[in-house]
Structures are given as structure tokens and as C-alpha cells.
């Protein structure tokens, strides 16, 4: 605590006033970004509407490629969604203090990324109007339940559980902060925030149960974080497709998800930090910690990529090895090399403290990691499908207009949600940042730094 306290130029008395004031008056760039995001979202919605009207045939699916950009986007967004709960839950359990400044935006990112992710399984279905109901275990007139043995059903369960839990976790964290906002505003807004904060009063008993509940939630969410992407990886690993049917998939996917999530948190935090003038709260040290986590997961992913090749070769399975050979040098090897460079090679620069402290360079690396992670999924899905077992079925694939537009639309959806969120909710957890800031003590330990805001 004593070491950390030297970092801070602010006291807890500055937290509410400065952070909330900033939220009320964002940088003009915020509105530009919002307009751009909403436009993209609307375009995406338009294309989805056409897609629902005319059918899946509009996409450029070319059998044997029955999944391509749709599921790539799904896995990508689920992966992005991992960082939030990871930072909230696991790092909470590990008592990593730097998480307290980034966890709110990471959790929000999780929620919105999972929403984006949920969109894709829904629209990728041939008959979503049936699928949205039949894939959920509900009583029905058919007396027929879902296939509890299907990885896709696991996926429904995993993602919906993850979404619910993350939402609870996120909202639970928000409750005291909403109460803080409630206590700053008047009139109708006060009513709204009051309802949203459940009438939080901040008594010590509430804090006591809150703290316990938060901890248990974190304890529940920790295996969940690890399981969700494992389950997503089983969407692939439970088939017999070469390149998919491997036991390495769950840890490999989880590591990849955290990698992309951390990179995305970094990418989101920087503009927000700038637009809402949070430099004094989200300290460079916190950002650096995020980059360390990125670096760690990047090396895990690197290891997994390498091991996949080794196992494919070592197993002696001709189908498996043929696939990996093609991944590296075949017609779709471009995606593979994008993935390798973006996820494994470029993040190596983060070993250097200078790079980690160089915010623009780190930002670019994180963008590249996200690009790389998108192409990782694309590569996994496409290369396994496009040329698998029976040569007569081999095909080609290239994304078409619908793929591109709906992907952009999902980014629009995500960005819109995120920007709306940062405008109306505290982007930094007020109560939690207060915890890691110098405590308001009357003794000498608090120094003379604090004053009333």
C-alpha cells in the first residue's frame, strides 16, 4: 500500500467528482466515435434484415465450408469476452490491485462482446425462429428436449451461463457506483439511478454481504471463464475434422481468448482514458500489467500453435498432418501467417519494458493481436473445412459482402454499446478504485496529499 500510494496524485475524494464529471462532459471525439459506431451498427442491421428475408444463401458459404466468418466472429467475440471476467474474477481472487481500475470497462466489454457473440449463433442458423427456442431446454408440445450431448447445446448453456454470470458480476459491481451517481444527480435521473442501484445505501452490513457475494461470484466465475472457451473449443474438437479433433483445444482456446481479451481491453481503455481524462486514475502501471498478461498469454498461444504442429506430425495421422501442412503452406496459408505474426511474433516486443511503456506502440501491438486472433479462428475454421477427408469434396472459400458487412455490424454493435455505457456509467469502478487508492486516514500515513474536492 505504501508503495502504491506514491503513484497516486488523487485521493478518494477526487474519485466521484472527477470521474463522474468527466462522464458528463466527454471529449468531442466521443460523439464522432458514437456516430460512426451507430452507422456501422445500422448497416449491419440492414444486412441482417436482408439475410433474414432472403436466407442464408446470401452469404458466401461454399460447401464444404458450412461455417466461416459467422462462427469466426462468434468465437472471436466470445474470446474478447473472456478478459472481463478473467480480470474481475481471477485477478480479484489473486488480489491483483491493478485490476480495480480496468475491471469495470473490461466487464462491460465482456457483456457487450458476449452480446455480439450471441448474435452470431442466432443469425448463422438456417431457421433461427425455431433455433432460438428449440436449442434451449424448455418444455414443449413435441415432448422432445434438446440433445444434451451436443457441443452446440453445451455452447448454448456455457454462453448463456457466462453471459448471466458476467452480467450479474458486472451489475453487482455497478450497484454502489450507481448509488454514487444517484447521490450526485437530481430529479428524474436520480429516480432512474436510484432504481438501478436497488436503493443501495452503503451500510457496513451491505458491504459485508456484498464483499462476500462478490467473492463467491468471483469463485464461481473463475472456473466458468476457463470453461466457456473450453466449451467453445469443443464446438470444434467434438467433431472428427482434422485440425479440430484435438485435446489441446480447450487450454489453447482459453489462452487465446484471454490474449485477445486483454488486447481488446487495452485498445478500449486507451481512447476512453483519453476522452474521459482518466489518466490520473488509470495509471500507466495498470496498463503495463495488462500488457504483461497479454505477453504471457501470447507465449502460451505460441506454445499451443507449435505443439499442434508437433502432435499432428508425431501422431502419424495422414489427414491431420496433411491439414497442418496445408495450413502452413497451402492456399490459405496467408491467414495462418497473419495469425502467427500477430499473435506470436509481434507481442514478443512486449518483453521490453520500453515498449510496454510506449503507449502508441503497445496500442498497435494490441490491435494486431486482435487482428491475429480473428484470423486464428478464421484459420482454424476455414482450413479444417475447406479440405478435409474426401478430396472430391474439397472446395474454396472467400468471404462475400454479407460476411464483411455483418462482421462490421457486429463491431458497430459492440462499439455502440460500449460508448453508450461509458457515457452513462462510471467507466472506472468508483468503489473499487477507492480501495486501492491511499486510504483516508487521519494519521501521518496519509500524508498531506488529500484535500476536499
Amino acid at each position: 500500500m505504501s508503495d502504491d500510494s506514491k503513484l497516486w496524485s488523487k485521493t478518494i475524494s477526487d474519485v466521484n467528482s472527477e470521474i463522474l464529471v468527466n462522464i458528463e462532459n466527454p471529449h468531442p471525439a466521443y460523439y464522432v466515435a458514437l456516430a460512426f459506431a451507430i452507422t456501422t451498427l445500422l448497416i449491419g442491421i440492414g444486412f441482417v434484415a436482408l439475410h433474414f428475408t432472403y436466407g442464408l444463401g446470401l452469404w458466401n458459404f461454399r460447401p464444404p465450408v458450412y461455417w466461416a466468418v459467422d462462427i469466426t466472429n462468434f468465437v472471436f467475440w466470445v474470446g474478447i469476452g473472456h478478459a472481463g471476467t478473467l480480470i474481475s474474477a481471477i485477478l480479484f481472487l489473486f488480489r491483483a490491485k491493478w485490476r480495480n481500475t480496468v475491471n469495470r470497462s473490461a466487464e462491460a466489454m465482456t457483456i457487450f462482446a458476449v452480446i455480439c457473440a450471441l448474435v452470431f449463433p442466432l443469425i448463422h442458423m438456417g431457421r433461427p425462429w425455431h433455433g432460438a427456442i428449440w436449442a434451449v431446454p424448455l418444455p414443449n408440445t413435441n415432448n422432445l428436449w434438446v440433445n444434451f450431448r451436443s457441443p452446440l447445446f453445451w455452447d448454448v448453456m456455457a454462453i448463456s451461463t457466462y453471459f448471466t454470470t458476467s452480467l450479474l458480476f458486472w451489475y453487482m459491481g455497478l450497484v454502489p457506483d450507481l448509488a454514487s451517481i444517484r447521490d450526485r444527480v437530481t430529479g428524474f435521473k436520480r429516480l432512474v439511478y436510484g432504481i438501478m442501484s436497488f436503493g443501495w445505501r452503503g451500510t457496513s452490513k451491505q458491504w459485508w454481504h456484498y464483499e462476500a457475494g462478490y467473492g463467491f461470484l468471483a469463485a464461481l466465475a473463475t472456473p466458468l471463464v476457463l470453461s466457456v472457451h473450453s466449451v467453445v473449443s469443443w464446438d470444434f474438437a467434438m467433431s472428427l475434422q482434422p485440425g479440430w479433433h484435438t485435446t489441446i483445444f480447450p487450454p489453447y482456446f482459453v489462452a487465446g481468448a484471454i490474449l485477445s481479451g486483454c488486447a481488446m481491453v487495452y485498445n478500449l481503455l486507451l481512447p476512453v482514458r483519453y476522452m474521459f481524462k482518466l489518466e490520473k486514475f488509470i495509471l500507466p502501471e495498470h496498463l503495463e500489467s495488462l500488457l504483461r498478461l497479454t505477453l504471457l498469454t501470447s507465449t502460451i498461444v505460441f506454445y499451443a500453435y507449435s505443439l499442434e504442429f508437433f502432435v499432428a506430425w508425431y501422431s502419424g495421422n495422414p489427414y491431420e498432418w496433411a491439414l497442418f501442412e496445408k495450413r502452413a503452406v497451402g492456399p490459405y496459408s496467408f491467414y495462418f501467417w497473419v495469425m502467427m505474426f500477430c499473435n506470436c511474433i509481434f507481442p514478443l516486443a512486449l518483453w521490453s519494458r520500453r515498449v510496454r511503456n510506449n503507449i502508441p506502440v503497445s496500442f498497435v501491438i494490441c490491435v494486431l493481436v486482435n487482428v491475429g486472433m480473428w484470423f486464428e479462428r478464421y484459420n482454424i475454421i476455414l482450413s479444417s473445412l475447406v479440405e478435409d477427408f474426401v478430396p472430391a469434396r474439397w472446395g474454396h472459400f472467400q468471404p462475400g459482402l454479407w460476411e464483411v458487412m455483418i462482421t462490421l455490424g457486429s463491431f458497430g454493435l459492440f462499439t455502440t454499446f460500449y460508448l453508450v455505457f461509458v457515457k452513462f456509467f462510471p467507466v472506472v469502478s468508483l468503489s473499487e478504485i477507492k480501495l486501492i487508492m491511499p486510504k483516508p486516514l487521519s494519521s501521518k500515513a496519509s500524508g498531506g496529499a488529500h484535500h476536499h474536492g
Partner: protein, 1104 residues
């Protein structure tokens, strides 16, 4: 086997050695003559299960169209509408769901229900196919008056239950949305739809002249006789009936036999009797005469039964299905077929054991000496040595051999080639042992020289009727037919679908399709098959014969028949006498025939000795050598273009190129490289008379000089959205040249120039990768020695260790076995499947995206060097895996397992996640990306007419997965019969045949109960040749994916493959002489260019 030859050093186009040509086993294999009669005598009339004419049985249907919304016309078409309702209800959730009522449906019963006809149960009619002159018997399955499926008549001697792709597709002619609905009359440039009575009146006014002619297609029944009668009645004469068929093989063969024996007939080739089959440009399994009959005999002889498997050697310049099936295939320069045959005749003559009469030998000698100039340098030009021919001749004389010549493209020497073939067959003694001219020969469907006669006479004609023939499209434009037609004052086109000649006609009269018509065929001499309507006409059309009848009546020159049926009935009274059915009363004979479909007796004719003047008839036109030569064969799906309007035929892939909906320029990859082209480059092909543009398709195994452009496509856009605008007609490039002896148009061998246009046009292929990519457990091929050694041994492919407990035993386990050694790639199964199971056609654009919907797709793999590859066809369908990877991944149980072994696909449960398709290692699941219509090619996609669909199979809508169901509707019917009639499934009277199996002319497909040890399917699964695709090597206990398919394949038995290194049982020694256990990889040297660089994977079955 003896046709080995040295690599030719002199030829301009060097050949790589033929696969396995260095195999010392060659020439040592001796085929013992084996019995096994495959006689197909015309059968006695028995009271069959088939009904006679539809009008008699179902008077209601004859009077009013079946209402599609009738209770019994349960078509599945409403699924669409309901889904929409469900969509609404889904969005409105529970609150409004209570208000959703189903659409009101009506139930319309019969007024008078015919006896023994039950709504919901099928009625069968026997009839005769009218799509070519082979005259196959057809059994039409109808439901509520609508034909739902065509099947071969099981006991018909010609096709014995099978049908070809074209025959299967005939059903699409009914309810085709683009058929002409009413007759039209042209007034100047104005075309008016008219009423039939006005047409008859108007047309009758033109019959004042006596110069009336009819050009019609080939037929063997009473049709031509009727036309002659008409011509005579209206004042013209019978000579003005001209017959023309684009497939002039029959004409050439008949003419050659006329010149040789004075008999204008075609010998019936009973290939089951042959032990060595030599094809010289022959296409007897494909578009040749009576392909189903040939395929059956061929399969009998050529499929593996034991060491006496027949050998098939094929010489051809381009790829035919026949060549693809052969054991040894030698590419020869285009147009050198006659040379090859003569060289073979020469070799045969030299052989001391030559057979044939002295007259035949002397005629052969005379022909050879008369054409000695021709034979100079012939060896070099065809690319083989004299020793090669000697070896082959030796082989042909050792075992019963037959030589078949002539395919689907015809040059100046097409008839001469047949004469040479007659000589060769005389010398190997195949007449009356394999080729039957004396007994049950095939009558010629067209009269020789009619085309030339027509061209001469037509200038003077006042009235010309074109009946079921399209000279504008099927003759090269250089023949000037359009100018000719323009000169004739009155042209009437009578056709079931608008054709290219129609714009030149005053009257375009829509005729019945053959399924709506009366008629008959004499497919084999003495075998008469009757054609009867099985459906009320679906458009306002008239039968061609009856149009003539009524026109004549309107012209006050009545023919004196009530209708064509009455004419036929009268004619069949004669047949009754000929056949000798005197015990049947004359009045009921025709009805009895209609029930059975055919009648006849064995016929014999006296065959005179070979003409002593043959050498003078032998007229060889030298068309030069070398350079690129245009080959325009008949397409095996579209023939000369007359079937191009049926989407199912457009969409089944060409067996070798796998291209659909398009015309391609197939070139040897070596030629493609030499010309600096790439796959799908649009090239301009300039022939003597014109040029066209099409995309290049590099096809291994073509002679490097061959430029192969199939006929069939290239119709103008006015001809409907399905055929209009697809591909090109290669005939535009052909200069006017004719067969030296018959005058048939030349579609083969004219020199062309190919230039790149710089453009690129992708062809819609269904298979993009051509080789097996070194994968060993997909296609297996075993040497004859191994197969023989394994005979009698059995294996249990299902004996695989499993962590899970065995499934409880059920009564049945449905399974299928497919013999890769029998499959000819004819695609009849694919079409039959599409028709039976309402599989939609998706159109060219969607095929380009790989979205074809065939449940049964024939995969084609090339192996071996690019110059002389080997082709293996693998019919691929849902394997119905016992441990199916697709089932576990479906979240909603839309696909799950029937305990009886069927991998069931519940369309209405499917939500379209498509994971099952991804998880399927065989990738045979098909997804409905759209709600498919008739076609999506044209600007006006047509809704699928519910009446054209099989009501037993649910129609799938957008967003659901589908796949082969093992024709579960048929399994279901059999189960019901078992329960209700007490006949156990699999016993006679209750045998399940899937649509693909039922139609397969080669009997490559066997379906049955795997738990019933006596069923053929389970017997074949136990065969040592059986293997499960992608399930490793069972004998080695390498279990591969362990999907445990219910479909097993029987490995192709190869005469050229070598046994693989390291056999467990060492049976090679037992067989002696089959020695050579090395060469484990069987990798041939030779082309590895591009993706055609097929590496050859030969796989030997282990002995353990």
C-alpha cells in the same frame, strides 16, 4: 495381357508408359471360357401388376386436372407457408399464438373411385421410354394420377428394371413450367397462340400441295409407318418421310451391316459372353445403342466374379464413360479409329489361330491390300508398335473376344469404321457368340441416307413437318438448314418443348410428352414394347400422330382411325398373330399388353455370308493427321441437346469433368500447357465453318490432339431459362462434311485453331479436386490375384473394439454395398435419387458455390500419369454411420440414429446450425441455403410445382439440412407390407430397393438388411473386398475414424495393379505367375502437373 507397347520414340507426342505396362504378369493371364448364360428372351405375356391406360382407369383424371390441394395430393408444399406462419408466431410470442389457425385445406374425393385405386397408395403403369430408340420398358409409379417416379420395367429384356439418367429425368418434362402451353401460328412476324381447332383448319388449308414431307427422329415402332400412311393419305408419298438422329451410330452400324451382309440391322451385343472386350472409340456404356442392355452384359462379364473377369481394352481419342471403365485405355489420335481397327485386323490375320470363314479372311485381306497405302506409317501415327497389336490379337484369339467400335462423335469414316469392325469381329469369331445378328438383332431406328435425301428434296417441298426433331440445332449451321427451312413455304414444328427450329415454322404445335402419349417401340427384333399415357396431359397439347390425324380430317382426307390408340390397337392385332398369342381373344390382347408393357418372341433371320465385294464398299476418307482436332461428342446427359431443358440433367455433373450447366473445351493438360492456357481460360475455337468461345478444362487422358467440346448445350435464350443461354453448341465450327457411306453429318476430327481470349470463365464443377491425395481408405483397388486368393474368405467389418457397450440388437440393420468395380459413372442413380427424393436443382450460380444438393454424388478420381490415367468412380452418399459424427453434434436431435441403422434426418426439427455437415467426414450432407425452386438460373425462377414432387418425401425449405435417407419411404412401405401382408422384408415380393439401386444398370448398389445373413448386402459386406470408407484398414486393425458406416464399398479389382508389398498370406505364390510382390507404392512416373498430377495409390487387401 498383350497390349503392352514400347514407349514410342518417334511420335511427336511422346507417351509415358501405360500404367503397369512393365508388369511381367501381362500376357500370362489366360481367361478360361466361362458359361453363365445371360439370355434375355422375350417373355410370355403374363398378367402383371401394371394397369392399362389412365383414361380407362381414372376417368375423372381424364376430365379434370387433379386438384393440388386435394387431401390426397399431399405434397409437402405447404411447409413453406407454415414456416412463415411460425415465423410470425415466433415474433408475436405466446400472446397472439392462440390466434394462429392453420390455413384451410380442402379434401376433394373422387366422384367415382376406380376399383383397386386408393388415394394415398401408388398405381403403376407399364410403358416404354421415348427418350431414345433403345425402347426400354418403364414402370410409372403414379399417385392420385400424377407420375411420381419412373422405374425400369423389372422383367423387360432390354433394361431389366434399370433406367439411365435421361430416362429417370423424363419425369421433369411433366409440369415443366416452360413447356409451350398452346399451339401457335405465325402470321408474318407475329406469333399467335391459337386454339387447336383453328390450327387444324388453318393447317389443313396448306395440304393442297402433294409435296408434303416429314422429318422425324429415329423410332422403331409403328410411328414411321403411321407417318407414311399419313403422307400417302394427304397426297404426298411415303418416300417423303425422312428420319434423322444425331446419334448416327445406329445408322452407320446398320449401313455397314447392309454393305457386309445385306441386312440393315444392328447386331445385339451380349457382352456377358465376352472375355476380352476391345473398344475402338466405342461408347457402348454411354450414349451408344441400348446402353442399359450393354451395361448389364458388360457388368456380367467385367465385374469381378473370379479369375475369369473379362478384360476391357479401349482405344479412344477422348474420354468416354466406356473408356473410363476399361482395364487398359490407350489414347489414340482423333480420327484414327479405323486405322487402329485395320491394324488390329492385320494383326489378327497374321495370327495362325485366326478364326472366321475363309471368305471373311479373304475379304479382310482384300480390304487391307486395297488400303495398303493407308496403313503405311500407321503404326507411328497411332502411337503403337506392330508387336503391341500382335499381342492384343493373340489375346483376342485366345479367349472369346469382341470388338466394338464407334462412339458418339462421327467422322467421315464412321461407317467405314463399322465395316472394319465387322471384319475384326469375323476374324475373332464374335458373331453369334457375342454379337447377335441372326437372333434377336436390333432394328435400325433410322433409314440410311435419309438426311441427304431430305436435303435434296426439301427445296421442292411445300409443307414440311418437323416432328420431335430439331435440325437447326442438331446439324451444323454450315449445312444450311435454316436457309432451307426459310425456303419451304409451310413449316410445322411438332415438339414437346420449344426448340431452335421453331422460329422458322409457321406452326409450332406442342405435342404430348411420351409419358402422355401412345406409342410403341420394337427395341429388339421381335420384342414389342407399348407406350401408354400414365398421366392426363399437363398442358393443352396433342399427340403428334393425332395432330396429323385431325389435320388430315380437317383437310377431308381422314386416315380412318378414331385416335392413335386405335391405330396401335389395330397394328398390335398383327403382332398378336406374329407372337402367337392365339389363345388370347383379339379384343383383350391389347389391354393385356398394356398391363404387361411388352410382348414378343425370339426372332431369327438368315444372315448371308460376308459380301464378297466388301473391299469395294470400304471407302476411307483421309482427313489428314496431327494438329488439334475438334471432337463434339453427344453429351451423355443432354444427348444432342434434346434433354437440355430438364434441370436435373443440366445439374448432374458430367462424369469425367464434373461440370454442370456449361459447355467446356476439354484438352489434355499437356496441350493446355503447350498452348499457354490455364484451367477455365476462355478460348476461341476456330473451325472450318465458324468459331465459338468456351472455357478450357484440362482433362487427363485425352489424346493431346483432341479438343473435346460436348454437344447438348448452347440453346438460345428464347428456349427457356433452363437450357437457354447455357454453354455453346460446338457444331457451329464444323464445316459441311458427311459420312462417306451414309451422309450423316461429321462432328468429329475437323482441324481447329485455339486462341486465348484473355478472359476467364469459371465452369460450375461439382468436384474441384481430382486425385485421391494419397488417402488410402477412401478408394481401394486390389489386384486380381489378391481378389481371387481372397475368394470364399469372409471378414466382419463391424468387429471393432468399442469402449461403449453394444447397441441392443434390433430386427434389422439397413445397409448398402457399392461395388466400385461395377460403377460406370453413368449418374443414373443420382438422377433417380433426385427424382425420388424431391432433391432440388439449384442452378449454375449455386453449383459454382458448391451448393449442389445431390444426395448421391459420384466422385471421380484420377490416378496414374496425366497422359493415360485411370479413373475410379465412387458413388458417395450418406454412409449411415453406426457411430455417426454428425448425430452427436446436433443440439436439437434433428439428426439421430434409428436403432435399425438409419441415420435419420428430421427436416422439420432442423434449425440449420450446419454442424452436422461440418462434422461429416464424407461431406455428403446438403444444406438448403434457399427455398429452392425449379431453377435459379433464369430471370424468372419458377416455383416447384407441387404436382411434380413425390408426395412420400417431405419437401425441404430454406435453412434445413438434408441427405440420403436410404429411401426410407421405401423401407417404411416394406415394413408395412411385412406387418400387414406377412411377407418378411427381403423375401420375394417384399424386397426393398432404394431408388439408386433400383435404377443402377450395373447393379453396383445393393441395399438390404445386414443382420439377415442371407441378404446380398450382408453377404457382400462380408466379402474380403469390402471396406468402409475412411475406416482405415480393417485387416490390419487400423480402424481409422471408426464411424462404422452402414455403407460399405467393394474394392475395385484391377487387372493392372500390383499386389502390395508384404502380404500376410503370401497368396501370390499360390497363384504362381502373378508374382511380383514389389513395387509397393505403385507410383508411376509421369505427369505431376497441377492438380491433375494424380499420384496413384494402389491398395492391396491384406490376407489376414
Amino acid at each position: 495381357m498383350s497390349t503392352t507397347r514400347e514407349p514410342n520414340q518417334n511420335s511427336e507426342t511422346p507417351f509415358a508408359p501405360v500404367p503397369g505396362s512393365d508388369d511381367p504378369r501381362r500376357g500370362q493371364e489366360v481367361f478360361a471360357p466361362v458359361g453363365g448364360p445371360f439370355e434375355a428372351p422375350a417373355k410370355n405375356v403374363v398378367s402383371g401388376p401394371y394397369y392399362k391406360g389412365v383414361e380407362e382407369r381414372l376417368p375423372e383424371l381424364a376430365q379434370r386436372p387433379a386438384d393440388p390441394s386435394s387431401a390426397e395430393a399431399k405434397s409437402g408444399f405447404n411447409v413453406d407457408r407454415r414456416d412463415l406462419l411460425k415465423l410470425f408466431s415466433a415474433s408475436a410470442v405466446a400472446g397472439t399464438a392462440a390466434c394462429v389457425q392453420r390455413p384451410v385445406e380442402k379434401a376433394i374425393p373422387f366422384v367415382n373411385q376406380p376399383v383397386d385405386t386408393w388415394p394415398g397408395e401408388p398405381t403403376h403403369y407399364a410403358t416404354t421410354c421415348g427418350d431414345c430408340s433403345a425402347g426400354c420398358g418403364v414402370m410409372v409409379k403414379t399417385r392420385e394420377g400424377r407420375p411420381t417416379k419412373l422405374e425400369g420395367l423389372p422383367d423387360h429384356p432390354v433394361n431389366a428394371g434399370s433406367l439411365c439418367a435421361v430416362g429417370q429425368a423424363s419425369l421433369q418434362a411433366l409440369f415443366h413450367p416452360e413447356r409451350q402451353q398452346r399451339p401457335t401460328i405465325r402470321f408474318g412476324s407475329r406469333v399467335e397462340a391459337s386454339e387447336w381447332n383453328d390450327v387444324f383448319e388453318n393447317f389443313a388449308g396448306k395440304l393442297t400441295s402433294d409435296k408434303i414431307g416429314i422429318l422425324t427422329n429415329g423410332a422403331t415402332g409403328h410411328r414411321h409407318g403411321f407417318f407414311k400412311e399419313f403422307l400417302e393419305k394427304v397426297g404426298s408419298n411415303a418416300n417423303r418421310l425422312y428420319t434423322f438422329d444425331s446419334n448416327s451410330l445406329a445408322e452407320a452400324t446398320a449401313e455397314a451391316h447392309r454393305l457386309a451382309y445385306g441386312l440393315s440391322a444392328i447386331p445385339r451385343a451380349d457382352l456377358s459372353k465376352a472375355k476380352v472386350i476391345v473398344g475402338v472409340g466405342a461408347d457402348f456404356l454411354d450414349v451408344g445403342t441400348s446402353l442399359l442392355y450393354n451395361t448389364k452384359g458388360y457388368t456380367e462379364a467385367h465385374a469381378f466374379r473370379g479369375p475369369d473377369k473379362a478384360k476391357h481394352v479401349q482405344f479412344e481419342s477422348f474420354y468416354t464413360l466406356t473408356g473410363a471403365r476399361s482395364d487398359q485405355r490407350f489414347p489414340i489420335p482423333p480420327g484414327s479409329e479405323t486405322l487402329v481397327t485395320l491394324l488390329l485386323v492385320n494383326a489378327l490375320l497374321k495370327n495362325p489361330s485366326v478364326k472366321g470363314s475363309a471368305g471373311a479372311r479373304s475379304q479382310a485381306q482384300a480390304v487391307l491390300s486395297a488400303n495398303s497405302g493407308l496403313l503405311n506409317g500407321a503404326y507411328e501415327s497411332v502411337g503403337f508398335t506392330e508387336a503391341n497389336f500382335d499381342k492384343l490379337a493373340e489375346e483376342m484369339l485366345t479367349a472369346q473376344a469382341v470388338l466394338l467400335a464407334g462412339g458418339s462423335a462421327f467422322d467421315e469414316n464412321a461407317t467405314t469404321l463399322q465395316l472394319a469392325a465387322i471384319l475384326a469381329n469375323e476374324l475373332i469369331g464374335s458373331y453369334e457368340t457375342v454379337l447377335f445378328l441372326q437372333k434377336d438383332w436390333l432394328p435400325a431406328p433410322v433409314a440410311t441416307g435419309d438426311l441427304q435425301r431430305f436435303l435434296t428434296d426439301a427445296k421442292d417441298l411445300d409443307v414440311l413437318l418437323l416432328i420431335d426433331v430439331d435440325p437447326v440445332f442438331t446439324l451444323p449451321p454450315s449445312w444450311g438448314v435454316t436457309e432451307l427451312l426459310q425456303k419451304i413455304p409451310t413449316v410445322a414444328v411438332l415438339c414437346d418443348f420449344p426448340n431452335e427450329s421453331a422460329p422458322f415454322a409457321k406452326y409450332v404445335l406442342n405435342t404430348h410428352h411420351w409419358l402422355e402419349s401412345w406409342g410403341d417401340e420394337q427395341s429388339v427384333a421381335g420384342l414389342w414394347s407399348v407406350r401408354q399415357p400414365s398421366v392426363r396431359p399437363t398442358t393443352d397439347s396433342r399427340q403428334a400422330e393425332e395432330i396429323l390425324m385431325w389435320v388430315a380430317a380437317a383437310a377431308k382426307k381422314p386416315l380412318g382411325y378414331e385416335n392413335y390408340r386405335a391405330y396401335l390397337k389395330k397394328k398390335w392385332e398383327d403382332i398378336r398373330t406374329v407372337v402367337g398369342r392365339t389363345e388370347v381373344p383379339a379384343e383383350s390382347y391389347f389391354d393385356l399388353v398394356l398391363q404387361h408393357g411388352f410382348d414378343g418372341r425370339n426372332s431369327t433371320q438368315a444372315v448371308p455370308d460376308l459380301s464378297s465385294n466388301l473391299s469395294s464398299s470400304f471407302r476411307y476418307v483421309d482427313t489428314g493427321r496431327g494438329g488439334l482436332r475438334l471432337v463434339a461428342p453427344l453429351d451423355f446427359r443432354l444427348r444432342d441437346g434434346r434433354h437440355a431443358w430438364k434441370p436435373v440433367l443440366q445439374e448432374i455433373p458430367d462424369a469425367l469433368t464434373t461440370v454442370t450447366w456449361d459447355t467446356w473445351v476439354a484438352l489434355n493438360p499437356v496441350t493446355v500447357a503447350k498452348l499457354g492456357l490455364r484451367k477455365f481460360d476462355l478460348v476461341k475455337v476456330e473451325g472450318p465453318a465458324g468459331s465459338f468461345e468456351a472455357s478450357v478444362y484440362p482433362l487427363p487422358g485425352l489424346h493431346p490432339d483432341a479438343v473435346v467440346v460436348p454437344r447438348g448445350n448452347g440453346h438460345t435464350k428464347q428456349n427457356g431459362t433452363i437450357q437457354g443461354g447455357n454453354g455453346i453448341n460446338p457444331l457451329v465450327a464444323f464445316g459441311r462434311a458427311q459420312d462417306a457411306l451414309t451422309g450423316a453429318p461429321v462432328t468429329y476430327g475437323q482441324a481447329v485453331k485455339i486462341t486465348a481470349t484473355g478472359k476467364f470463365f469459371e465452369l460450375a464443377q461439382t468436384q474441384k479436386h481430382n486425385d485421391i491425395a494419397n488417402r488410402k481408405d477412401i478408394i481401394q483397388e486390389i489386384p486380381l490375384a489378391t481378389a481371387v486368393a481372397n475368394m470364399g474368405k469372409t471378414q466382419d467389418l463391424d468387429d471393432v473394439p468399442n469402449l461403449y457397450p453394444a447397441m441392443p440388437k434390433q430386427q434389422h440393420r439397413w445397409g448398402m454395398t457399392i461395388d466400385l468395380g461395377k460403377c460406370t459413372g453413368c449418374n443414373a442413380c443420382s438422377v433417380a435419387c433426385s427424382i425420388e427424393n424431391n432433391v432440388p436443382q439449384v442452378g449454375r450460380g449455386q453449383v459454382l458455390l458448391g451448393r449442389q444438393m445431390h444426395w448421391m454424388q459420384i466422385d471421380r478420381y484420377f490416378s496414374g500419369p496425366v497422359e493415360a490415367p485411370e479413373v475410379t468412380f465412387q458413388p458417395m452418399l450418406c454412409q449411415h454411420c453406426a457411430q455417426a459424427p454428425c448425430e452427436g453434434v446436433c443440439p436439437v436431435f434433428a439428426t439421430s440414429h434409428d436403432p435399425e441403422g438409419i441415420n435419420q434426418m428430421t427436416y422439420n426439427r432442423c434449425i440449420g446450425t450446419r454442424y452436422c455437415a461440418n462434422a461429416c467426414p464424407y461431406k455428403i450432407r446438403r444444406f438448403n441455403w434457399w427455398t429452392h425452386r425449379w431453377n435459379t438460373v433464369g430471370a424468372r425462377p419458377q416455383d416447384r410445382n407441387p404436382r411434380a414432387l413425390n408426395p412420400d418425401v417431405t419437401v425441404r425449405t430454406r435453412g434445413v439440412m438434408e441427405k440420403c435417407t436410404f429411401c426410407y419411404q421405401r423401407v417404411r412401405d416394406a415394413r408395412h407390407r411385412e406387418k400387414l401382408n406377412g411377407i418378411p422384408v427381403g423375401q420375394p415380393g417384399n424386397v426393398i430397393k432404394t431408388a439408386c439401386q433400383q435404377t443402377c444398370p450395373a447393379d453396383a448398389i445393393t441395399f438390404g438388411d445386414l443382420l439377415d445373413t442371407t441378404s446380398p448386402a450382408s453377404q457382400q459386406r462380408k466379402d474380403m473386398r469390402a471396406y468402409l470408407a475412411l475406416n482405415g484398414e480393417h485387416a490390419l486393425k487400423e480402424y481409422g475414424l471408426k464411424t462404422m458406416p452402414s455403407v460399405s464399398y467393394l474394392a475395385k479389382v484391377s487387372l493392372t495393379a500390383k499386389p502390395e508389398h508384404g502380404h500376410g498370406g503370401g497368396h501370390g505364390e499360390q497363384q504362381g505367375g502373378h508374382g511380383e510382390q514389389h513395387g509397393s507404392q505403385g507410383e508411376q512416373k509421369g505427369g505431376h502437373e497441377g492438380q491433375h498430377g494424380a499420384r496413384r495409390v494402389k491398395k492391396a487387401k491384406k490376407n489376414g
